[in-house]
């Protein structure tokens, strides 16, 4: 059945069989593949230019050529004199702290709502959905005044709380879906064997939900790592600023330190793109909160 229908169904979206019988690609495949390669290149093009610029020697920054004639790592070594190490540390603290907090807060909530029916359950899920719809930018003035009131400007804790709060919804959805897909019987079996409910949760359910947990953690980490607006508003002292704000700081009023800016950007960007590729497949389902099955 599948062998017969494959050419018509799978490849229906035209007679797009990947290859002819003799193994040579069809013209259609060649055109498709080439256009996909060009588009893929266009999508990474800005980041390639970011890398190239960071590797341009200062003497060549103002030469209008596509590729530099020489390459130099000096921007990367002199970068640390600008205090970027501190900024990196702050970013790690904020992203790590927010990730941990999301894990601690979202896991029990997602587990409980996936396993139990209780009064206020719907209200809670709607509340989570609403949080997801709001962006911190929309509440900027409120957040600013609130933390001024608490004397928490330039506080890493404030950044951890805000980042965790606005990224928790994603974690709740994805964990909720994972917990829901794990049969209750597995947990009950563990409980019969003497583990309590909490023990069963830790020994059976959490390990099975590990892919969901990893996705939620990586997503939160990246979102907090990339966050800019709240940090720009709350972290006003240079040695308290995370990478994004520090990088924006290279945009001086009169001159722009492009090479340091892009060397720092490369350091801030490349790890995140790689991390993101790891969880890529699951991210969409978490963002769209289960409406695409």
């Amino acid at each position: 059945m599948t062998a017969i229908s494959a050419p018509t169904s799978v490849a229906t979206r035209s007679a797009r069989r990947p290859r002819k019988q003799n193994g040579r690609p069809t013209w259609k495949t060649v055109v498709l593949a080439l256009s996909a390669y060009v588009i893929a290149f266009l999508f990474i093009f800005p980041y390639l230019d970011m890398m190239l610029t960071s590797l341009r020697p200062t003497s060549e920054l103002q030469t209008p050529t596509i590729l530099p004639h020489h390459y130099s790592w000096s921007s990367y070594t002199s970068l640390w004199k600008t205090g970027l190490g501190t900024n990196l540390k702050i970013t790690l603290l904020i992203a790590g702290g927010a990730t941990l907090l999301v894990l601690l807060v979202a896991t029990p909530a997602a587990y409980f709502t996936a396993r139990n029916k209780f009064r206020g359950r719907m209200a809670f899920l709607i509340l989570v959905l609403i949080t997801q719809m709001f962006q911190p930018t929309a509440l900027l003035v409120g957040i600013y005044r609130q933390f001024v009131g608490f004397h928490m400007l330039n506080s890493v804790w404030a950044m951890i709380l805000v980042n965790a709060g606005f990224n928790m919804a994603f974690a709740v959805w994805i964990l909720n879906a994972y917990f829901g897909s794990i049969p209750r019987e597995l947990e009950e079996a563990a409980m019969v064997e003497g583990s309590g409910r909490i023990g069963a949760l830790f020994r059976v359910t959490l390990p099975l939900a590990a892919p969901g947990v990893v996705t939620a953690l990586v997503f939160t980490f990246i979102a907090a790592w990339n966050e800019f607006v709240i940090a720009l508003t709350l972290m006003t002292t240079p040695n308290k600023q995370p990478l994004t704000v520090a990088i924006n700081g290279f945009l001086g009023a009169y001159s722009i330190d492009w090479q340091h800016m892009f060397a720092a950007s490369v350091i801030a960007t490349i790890p995140v793109i790689i991390l993101f590729a790891v969880i890529e497949r699951k991210v969409v389902s978490g963002l769209t909160a289960g409406s695409i099955k």
């Binding site: 229908s5 169904s9 490849a11 229906t12 979206r13 498709l32 996909a36 588009i39 999508f43 800005p46 980041y47 230019d49 209008p64 050529t65 596509i66 601690l104 807060v105 029990p108 909530a109 709502t113 209780f118 009064r119 206020g120 899920l125 989570v128 959905l129 949080t131 962006q135 930018t137 929309a138 509440l139 900027l140 003035v141 409120g142 957040i143 005044r145 609130q146 001024v148 805000v162 965790a164 709060g165 606005f166 928790m168 959805w173 800019f228 508003t233 990088i247 800016m261 950007s265 801030a268 960007t269 995140v272 793109i273 890529e280 991210v283 969409v284 963002l287 769209t288 289960g290 695409i292």
Partner: protein, 323 residues
């Protein structure tokens, strides 16, 4: 099928057919403990939402009715004056109109281009996996960094885009006013819209790809048997089946683009003049001048966000009910 109802339904299915714990009889203390149990599990999450999301909403609305000095001191009640001041700002009307253009243009073009991209990346060809990874880059990278690179690539003297345009012969002089698209009102906004589309494409394309993967091959086979043409099949079968994916992707994009700040801030600071200032950027500019008025702008912004979400959920649900 709306976002909300789907989540509700999925969640509802999961718990049906199981006794509700609260119904069991027990001593009063035990029942009370049982009642409190949900709070133990979801309490921390509610606490975090209240502290970081709901409380700022309250503070923001309150601030919009307060007189705030330039040093941030509260000088008493302002009544509606923050709002009337805001509405009488010379730039206000233009800012609102520009925001509408910004959101409609970015989201509209993003959706159309993503439909095409998803169609392409859904085909089979060697290296598909790698090309899909490349697509992720603008999504994973901080929007700020992407905006900064584009600012650099559009640099009048030695930006890569300008160099390429110059080499091709489309640009006569580097270092001239014509080589500085972000410095001119006519070209700054289109470039910002371009960058906003660029960073919105990956998520949207992936959401549509996820939607496409749910359409069973048999559906297409049936259409083929019926003698339906390619474009006709796409319009009558693929697009309607993609509706849930499109609905959610549009909603998420509208929220992101409406609140988008880093692109405009990093590339033009809302300038030249106010020619690239949207309501979100205007709110930030006002924050440095008059916090009360800035809060008023935020409240207006926030109201718009709520209206958009409500309208959108309504329309999508209404349509699914009609069918």
């Amino acid at each position: 099928m709306s976002n909300l109802t789907a989540a509700q339904r999925a969640a509802g299915d999961r718990v049906s057919g199981r006794p509700i714990p609260g119904r069991r009889r027990g001593s009063l203390a035990r029942r009370a403990a049982h009642r409190a149990q949900p709070l133990l599990w979801i309490g921390p999450a509610i606490g975090l939402i209240c502290f970081v999301v709901l409380w700022p909403v309250y503070v923001m609305v309150r601030t919009s009715f307060q007189k705030v000095s330039s040093f941030g001191e509260i000088k008493g009640s302002a009544g509606w004056s923050n709002f009337t001041n805001l509405f009488h700002e010379l730039a206000f009307k233009g800012v609102v109109e520009r925001t509408v253009i910004w959101v409609v243009a970015v989201v509209g073009i993003t959706m159309v281009v993503s439909l095409a991209l998803a169609q392409l990346f859904n085909q089979r060809f060697p290296g598909r996996r790698v090309t899909r990874w490349a697509l992720i880059a603008p999504w994973a990278a901080s929007v700020l960094m992407t905006a900064l690179v584009f600012k650099w690539m559009l640099h009048s003297g030695y930006g890569l885009i300008n160099i390429l345009l110059h080499d091709v012969g489309l640009l006569n002089d580097l270092n001239s006013a014509s080589a500085d698209p972000l410095g001119k009102e006519a070209t700054a906004m289109p470039w910002l819209i371009f960058v906003a589309i660029f960073v919105s494409l990956p998520f949207t394309t992936y959401a549509i790809l996820a939607g496409l993967s749910t359409i069973p091959g048999e559906v297409y086979e049936a259409a083929r048997v019926d003698g339906s043409g390619k474009w006709h099949t796409y319009r009558t079968i693929t697009l309607p089946l993609l509706r849930p994916a499109l609905t959610v992707a549009t909603l998420i994009n509208v929220m992101n683009v409406f609140n988008s700040f880093p692109i405009i801030w990093a590339m033009t600071h809302g300038g030249p003049g106010y020619s690239t200032t949207t309501t979100t950027v205007y709110m930030y500019i006002l924050k440095g001048k008059d916090l009360g008025e800035s809060a008023a702008m935020s409240v207006v912004n926030f109201g718009l966000v709520i209206i958009i979400v409500a309208l959108f959920l309504r329309i999508s649900r209404w349509k699914s009910e009609v069918e």
